[in-house]
Symmetry: C2
Subunit: 201 residues, 2 copies
Amino acid sequence: MAEPIEFWFSVASTYTYLSVLRIADVARREGVTFIWRPFGVRAIMKEQNNIPFLGKPVKTAYMWRDIERRAARLGLRARVPAPYPLTAYDTAHHVVMVGFAEGWGEDYVRDTYRLWFGEGLEPGTEPSLSTALRAVGQDVTRVLAKAAEPAAAEALAAATDAAKARGVFGSPSFVTRGELFWGDDRMQDAIEWSRRGTLAV
Amino acid sequence: MAEPIEFWFSVASTYTYLSVLRIADVARREGVTFIWRPFGVRAIMKEQNNIPFLGKPVKTAYMWRDIERRAARLGLRARVPAPYPLTAYDTAHHVVMVGFAEGWGEDYVRDTYRLWFGEGLEPGTEPSLSTALRAVGQDVTRVLAKAAEPAAAEALAAATDAAKARGVFGSPSFVTRGELFWGDDRMQDAIEWSRRGTLAV
């Protein structure tokens, strides 16, 4: 019997595109449950001095190409390089927290990633914000006002603390049966672990 | 028709254990050819300011656990944490260069990794050196003398330049049809690319 899998993600992460866009299909096909857990990856990475791409042009160029190739496998567009890193990090994350509090978070995050990698629109800025909010039937002015209230920042901080408590240090991460799996390329490992609590043959 | 795949690796790398120990089986099963290309990863990573683990205890702990879990899937032992980083980096790599020049490199590297992750014996130091050299039928004194000659260091530098020219920035890496794939977890992508020149469905 498969245990649920927490899907920890931050909309600041590039590789998370590959997870967000396929995770619903994977859940159906594999018969597993993912629990979406938004958090803020930047605070944790700063604290841990974990700087994967900034000032690393060779590795960064590889990252875009790797995402482009793997997106093609999934039948997804990937206009790379996409705008990165996010210039409106806080707004991007606070809107996500409102979305998950109100029940439209998953669809909003999917749309936000589609706009980011499909159309080159940066999360947390216009026109991404308005386009994605309207796509999920939300009033842009109302949501942005709510995202600017302290409760959204507090929810993000609490979520990030919860991520850290599980050992999460990057996005996406998967947690099941107390085990952490980091990276879109560990989704399948997490699914196996959720069923059997081991990868051993 | 599958193109050959260059397998770029450095015996300073932890994740390379998972590739080295399975690559011969994978080649047979998949009907592809891997060309072993030893190089020195540290010079490239230093130059690119790419420091994945040093001073990053959370990420480092995860790395060991990830290797342990994935080794279990392959039926491999993994006593983690294994000695790391290497204290005799140059010797470790120079002996490998001698081995590849003389034709016993692949077996030696496999034995070295088995000793490292199976027995906790650090590459490039005793008793790893003597044990692995004897296992491949080599005279320890002769090989160590040859590894100390300038030619071995020159071969390593030339190999590292060749790696860099292909965009290699980490170990293991796979290169086929001009495409670079980084990480043990990209071996299958490289195999697909060697056959079709794309991952797209």
